[in-house]
Structures are given as structure tokens and as C-alpha cells.
Symmetry: C2
Subunit: 427 residues, 2 copies
């Protein structure tokens, strides 16, 4: 994993493409700015919904998702707007936010704040979440769970187990804070490759703050049932609201293992008097959890080793910026010939050597491998010698990379000293 | 996690330093090459042992660790040499390698091959493993587990649980292939930050191939006992060989939780007639496993988002290389003025604009933020316009970044066409 040839330096790979797509998704802007309002310190709103359908199924109010940037820290957030919601109890928002801010879990979208706004021309309640670029909902990812797609390929058992492990992880955290997820359905769980996150926590706590003062234990038991139904819905390609539980459970055989069927049965059907908790469920899926842990490690190791490769790019970029700031500069105060004299002259010839190689006929030789290897040696300051020949071929210098590195640093420091503000971030 | 200011672009952070240290460890060479022999396709051997002590405790033979590069694929491997070992049964090696090559687990150092050699002047057996740069053994990491350090800080409970989860993950994989770890001790487990890996698998299978034909179930049961003792040794700062199990278990209270004590007791002491398996152990630690999974996710997310940042460096490096290959080039065949004319002239002025900014007094302004933002816009080809003024201030051009990007690509492609070999890896 720690190995590379120069040739794969710039080869785009899946991970890199994926990250770039995320970067683009994050930076996406509306063609006509100002179409959507600014909400306090959140601006540059961009709609994330993929349909215009006003759906009240999840919260009793239509809801809309936007990404927005905060002017406080320049970071992006995901905002959910509950349209037409009139907040009657300010304390609801305060106490719910306080509770949920403590929950930090890899399978839960973190909640930041809530506020009301009239900027949309109605009375709306806004929930602010972490923004996870390029996420889809589980329903978008597996249209199987939607009746219209009946007959599609079933979701593979391993994928279902990975969801089970992750939702279990999320519920464990939520229940341990004496809270309940409440909103647990495929359209409110987002997925990014194989990672899933509960995406609508805290909303029903606010909406049902007054009307629905049920004991949290009861809501937690309900979470377990909904958890089972989310998976059953994906496994049987039936919308959650239309599940006929016992026949759906039966239909799992023979497509899925009996272990899966037993786990879902345990979650959904009332057991013989026992008090169900997410802890006892986790005890039952421990071996799947261990397998999943191993997968998570492999994923992490893959990212880590690709990162190590990329690091080299960073070092190369930094050293090229310094070189570019020096080479061919139109003099410095009091010394119009600065960039053609002294250290700078050798650095200029070095630039020619690295980037302007020609063959015997004077044709350009463009070898990224040559450029990279030279720049890496310069960065490392090796003792290897380089032969630099002046353009008129009258002068030859043979500095080591170590000396060239010293010249580079000296020259760049001269520029830094001459500049009023120094070079922010240049080390 | 997807956010950054320009200021942290080049700020070295822990992860980057760690990766660089690994890179250096990997590339380390002996000052006098040739001190250590070449072993078949493995060359550039470099000793990894930190003492010269001939220790026969683990395998019955002294053993030595080296890193080496394979000339077959340019990758590094870790070799363990069993000094003075005389192989009597070739089949032992073949069948053991075949078994272990199937085991791929995030908490096990992968086994590649085994061979005998006389290159060290004796008869040695070499085991080839994955090389994990900058690893330490658990014993080196926690000298507490060594009697000489008695009285040191106890290993925190959370760390012990992370080891327990990981060794459980390793044993689950090993036992599922009908194998046993056999060599399970703090000096033969390597650690890299919080990740641990069993580092001496397969060796005792070879060494005891003839003499010790015990049923694998028995060896697996022994693995569980050793597993418990490894943790108990770390928890009580007692070398494994000198553990008095029952008093050591007693001494865990009150420093550690009863859950930990119960888990270790289960592993080490014979239970009431039950048949112990790693699976039943995993069932008992499922909640710690879930917590550990969440930590593993967070670790992965941290690496991922740092990687995303670094990616930007890669894009910037690529675009700067193209610019550097064009700017100020001493002509091309048939056109000595190439780099000062046409597209290239504007690219030259753009280079001045990006890298050679000066203030009203002609002093250099070195803002990495300005450079980065310009280069990112160039890479993205945005519609924003740039005002480029010639050095004599007689000409003004106002191209968009999109147009500049087209000029860059056109000019670079001209060079590529002129060059015989094209530009390998330049996209
Ligand atoms: N925190 C988030 N970060 C990034 N994208 C998100 C986030 N939360 C939701 N999304 C995305 O926003 C889009 C809209 O989400 P929403 O929950 O409204 O789904 P929906 O299918 O429109 O359901 P409904 O009909 O209930 O509105 C989805 O594509 C979802 O993946
Ligand atoms: N696969 C590996 N990759 C990288 N380093 C390793 C690997 N395996 C072991 N090492 C390192 O090599 C060094 C020597 O390992 P070794 O197992 O010989 O430990 P030791 O303390 O010398 O024990 P002993 O006294 O039994 O030889 C340790 O620092 C260890 O971290
Ligand atoms: Mg919606
Ligand atoms: Mg050793």
C-alpha cells in the first residue's frame, strides 16, 4: 500500500473522482443568485430536493432541503425547512437543540441549530444539519423499496447487514442519551457509498413537543420496530407504509438467510414479555458487527494509502509555487535584474532543466516523470548533482539539489522580506 | 469536514507528518549497502530489530526482522529470519503458506511466502510479511507490560478494549479458516497508532509441524487463553510468562471495570463445561464492538476529509506544471518567440498576475491565498474575467478564466505535439 511508480502520480482513480464530485456538488451555485433568500448568516441557498412534490408524510408539514454557506465560518450546512410551521413554544426548540447537540455519531447527521423565519413569505421552521455532499436517500439509492419498482433486483444481504450495523450504531447513541430517533424511514436516511446516516433527527421532537408527551422508553421501543421495518421494506421492495409484516417476513425465505429473518422478526414483532433494548439487539448481531468492522478498516486503509500518495503532490505543488514566484520575475525594488542574477540565475537554469527539456533536434521533451523526480529531489535536498547549462551554452553550473534548495529558500525569503505582509501559509 | 480556508492549505498537520515519517521509514537505507545479503528477489535489507539480544522465547530459535524491497514489483516487505533453523519437511512450508495466504484481515499482518537461505552463513528460514512502516510492538508501546517498568501509568481501559475488539476480529478470521494464531504475545503484535496487527502468524505452524500434531480446536482454545493473558499482562504490568492469573485478575479491581474483568476471566479460566469459541466471546463484547466501530468511522472520516483537501493540491500542482512548461520557454523549433506571442503572451501576463503581484511601491505581494484562488479558478475554467496588463503597461487584456484555460490547454497541446513522446501522465 505504500508503494507507487511515478506513472500513477496523476492517474485519476475512483476515490479521487468521488471526492472531486463532492467538491463540485458543494460549490454548486444557482445560476441566478438571489432567487432564494438569505436566512440570518446562511446565504447562497441551493435546493437539494429532487422533486417539487409537497410531501407531508414524514413531519405533517411539507419540507424542503437546501445547502447554504454560513457567513460566520465559511462552512456549508444542510437546512431543512418546515413550510408553514408556526412555532408556539420557544422552549421546545431550545431544549430539543440542547439534547441533540450532544449526540455525535458516525451514523447520524449532526444537528446544529433551529430557528424560525418569514423570509420565504410564510412562517417556516429551519433545522440546520451537517452537509454531506452528494448524498442520496436510501429510497433514491434503492428504488426497489418503492412500489413502482417491484420486481427489481433485491438488495444484497451483505448491504442490508451493513445498514443494520449502522442503524444499530446510531440508535445505540441516541438511546444512550435518553432520546429517540422517531423519524426512521428510507427517505430520511442518507447514504454515501456504503455509509448511511439518519438525516432527520430532532424534527419530530419539536413538532410533537406539546401534543405528544409519550415516555421516551415507548418511543425507543417504537424505534426498534421502525428499524426492522426500514430493512424489511428494502428487502421486500415494499414501501414501509404498505408493509404486511407477517407475510413480508415470510417472503424473506429463501432469498435471505434465516439469521436476517430472525433479526428482523425480533425487532418488529412483540417478544414474549421481554423488555427489548438496542443493547440486546446488538448482542445478537455481534458477529455481523465484527465482520463490518473489518470492512470499515479495509476501507480506511485504502483511503489512507491513497492519501499518502497524494501527499507527494502537495509537496511538489508547494515547491513549484516558490519556484514560480522567483523565476523570470521583473526585478525587485532597486534590482531590475534580480531574477537573472546570483542564485536566481541558477534557479532559472534549473527551471529550464526541469520543464524545458528538448531533444537533439530541439523538440520539447515533456516527461512528467522527469519533472516529478527533479522536484522531489529538490524538496528532499539530496546530494545528487545537476548539470545546468546556460541558454547560450557558455556557462555550466553543477550544484547539488541540496544547494539548489538553499538557493530557492534564500531567494524566496528575500522576496518575503521585501514584501510588506510576508507570505501567508508558505511553509 | 468539507471546508477549509486558504490559510490551512499548507499547514502541516499530524496526519501529514505521520505519513511523511512512514515514507521516510520506508525509504531508509543502510549507510553501507551490501552489509546484509540479497535474498533471492529481496534486496536492500534493513534491520528492524531495536536490540541485538538473541531471544528464543517466541519460536525456540532467535529471530530477526528486516525490511526489504522486492525486485519483482518494487514493493517493500517485512522479513522474519529464524536463525539456525534447518527445514526438514518442505511440505510443511507449502501447506502452511497455502493455508495462511487465504487469511486477509485488517488486524493480521498478511503472510506472503517462506523460504530457506544460506546467505547469512547459517541455515535460516525466512517468513515474508506485509511491511507496515513505523510500527512498534505492543511491548515497545507499553513498556508497562515489562516488569522493569512496574509502577508506570496503567494502560487506559478504552485502549485495552480497542485491543480486545481487534484481537477478537483477528482470531475470528483465523479460527474461521480452521487455523490458530498460536503465537499471541505483546512482543509479536505490532501497533500503529491505535491499530494493532498480529505479526507472527504461521511461524509456529511450520516450526511445530512435525512435533506437535495437536487438534486445531485445542490450539484455538489456547488462543483464547493467550488472548486473555496478553490483555491481563498489559493491564497489570506483568510479563505474560510471569502472570499469576488469579491474583492478577483480582488486582484489576478497582482500576478497571468489572465488565473487563469478566471478559478476561471468561477467556483465561476454564468455564463450567461450556465449549468456548471466539464467536461466543464476540457476542459478549458486542457493545464495545459497536463503540469501537463508531471510533473507526470517525478516524476514517477524518482521513477522508483531510484527503479531500489534499486533492486540491494535486489539481493545483498539475496546472502549475503545465504553466511552467510554457512560460518563458526559449522558443520551439521554427519559432524562437513562441513563448512571448499569441496565447503564450497572455499566459505569461497571467503568470505575472498570479505570482508576481507587487504593491504600489513595487514591493512583492506574496499571498498564497491569491495564488491558490487564481489557480483553482483556472482549473475550473470559470467565467470570471481577469485584467492582465503588459509589463510596459501599454496593453491590457481581459480574458475570462475559461479562455485562459483554453489557451493553456492549446499551448500545452502544441508542446505535446511537437514532442516526440507526448507527455506521460499529464492529464
Ligand atoms: N444532511 C444532508 N446533507 C446533504 N444532503 C442531504 C442531507 N439531508 C438530505 N439530503 C438530500 O436532500 C435531498 C432531499 O431530502 P428529503 O429528505 O427532502 O428527501 P425527499 O425524497 O425529498 O423526501 P420528502 O418527499 O419527504 O421531502 C435528498 O436527495 C437527500 O439525499
Ligand atoms: N510486519 C512488520 N512491518 C513493520 N515492522 C515490523 C513488522 N513486524 C515486526 N516489526 C517490527 O520489527 C521490530 C522487531 O520485531 P520483533 O518481533 O523481533 O520484536 P522484538 O522486540 O525484537 O522481539 P524478540 O525479542 O522476540 O525478537 C519491532 O519494532 C516491530 O515493531
Ligand atoms: Mg424533500
Ligand atoms: Mg527481534
Amino acid at each position: 500500500p505504500w508503494q507507487r511508480s511515478t506513472y500513477d502520480f496523476f492517474v485519476p482513480d475512483k476515490l479521487r473522482e468521488e471526492m472531486q464530485k463532492k467538491m463540485f456538488a458543494m460549490q454548486q451555485q444557482l445560476p441566478m443568485p438571489g432567487t432564494l433568500p438569505r436566512l440570518d448568516h446562511y446565504f447562497a441557498l441551493f435546493p437539494l430536493d429532487t422533486t417539487n412534490r409537497k410531501n407531508t408524510a414524514s413531519f405533517g408539514y411539507p419540507s424542503w432541503m437546501y445547502k447554504a454557506m454560513s457567513s460566520r465560518n465559511g462552512r456549508y450546512f444542510a437546512l431543512r425547512r418546515l413550510e408553514g410551521y408556526r412555532l408556539t413554544n420557544e422552549n421546545a426548540v431550545l431544549s430539543v437543540v440542547k439534547d441533540w447537540k450532544r449526540v455525535k455519531n458516525a451514523n447520524i447527521v449532526s444537528v446544529h441549530e433551529m430557528f424560525t423565519t418569514r423570509e420565504f413569505g410564510d412562517s417556516s421552521l429551519i433545522f440546520v444539519y451537517d452537509y454531506h455532499p452528494n448524498s442520496k436517500t436510501l429510497l433514491e439509492q434503492h428504488p426497489q423499496a418503492n412500489a413502482r419498482y417491484r420486481g427489481a433486483q433485491p438488495v444484497p444481504e451483505q448491504v442490508l447487514w451493513s445498514y443494520i450495523c449502522q442503524i444499530a450504531n446510531a440508535l445505540k447513541a441516541i438511546h444512550s442519551f435518553n432520546l429517540a430517533a422517531r423519524c426512521l424511514e428510507p427517505s430520511k436516511i442518507i447514504v454515501d457509498k456504503n455509509r448511511i446516516r439518519l438525516a432527520a433527527c430532532s424534527i419530530l421532537d419539536v413538532v410533537n413537543f406539546e401534543s405528544n408527551k409519550r415516555p421516551v422508553q415507548e418511543l425507543q421501543m417504537e424505534d426498534l420496530v421502525k428499524f426492522g421495518k426500514v430493512i424489511l421494506s428494502l428487502a421486500t421492495a415494499t414501501p414501509m407504509s404498505r408493509l404486511d409484516v407477517s407475510s413480508a417476513l415470510e417472503s424473506l425465505t429463501p432469498k435471505y438467510s434465516t439469521t436476517l429473518k430472525e433479526a428482523l422478526t425480533w425487532l418488529i414483532l412483540p417478544g414474549p414479555g421481554e423488555f427489548k433494548t438496542i443493547h440486546s439487539f446488538i448482542g445478537g448481531i455481534s458477529n455481523q458487527l465484527a465482520d463490518f468492522l473489518d470492512l470499515a478498516f479495509h476501507d480506511r486503509d485504502e483511503i489512507y494509502s491513497q492519501f499518502a500518495r497524494e501527499l507527494e503532490n502537495g509537496r511538489v505543488a508547494r515547491i513549484m509555487m516558490k519556484l514560480a514566484a522567483i523565476n523570470d520575475r521583473e526585478g525587485v525594488p532597486g534590482n531590475p535584474e534580480w531574477s537573472n542574477t546570483g542564485d536566481r540565475y541558477q534557479l532559472k537554469l534549473f527551471r529550464d532543466y526541469v520543464f524545458h527539456q528538448v531533444d537533439a533536434e530541439g523538440k520539447p521533451v515533456l516527461s512528467i516523470g522527469h519533472m516529478l523526480s527533479c522536484l522531489n529531489k529538490l524538496d528532499a535536498g539530496t546530494d545528487e548533482l545537476v548539470m545546468l547549462i546556460s541558454r547560450d551554452e557558455k556557462m555550466v553550473y553543477v550544484p547539488s539539489y541540496r544547494e539548489l534548495k538553499q538557493m530557492l529558500d534564500r531567494s524566496f525569503n528575500e522576496l518575503v522580506k521585501l514584501s510588506k505582509h510576508g507570505a501567508s501559509g508558505a511553509n
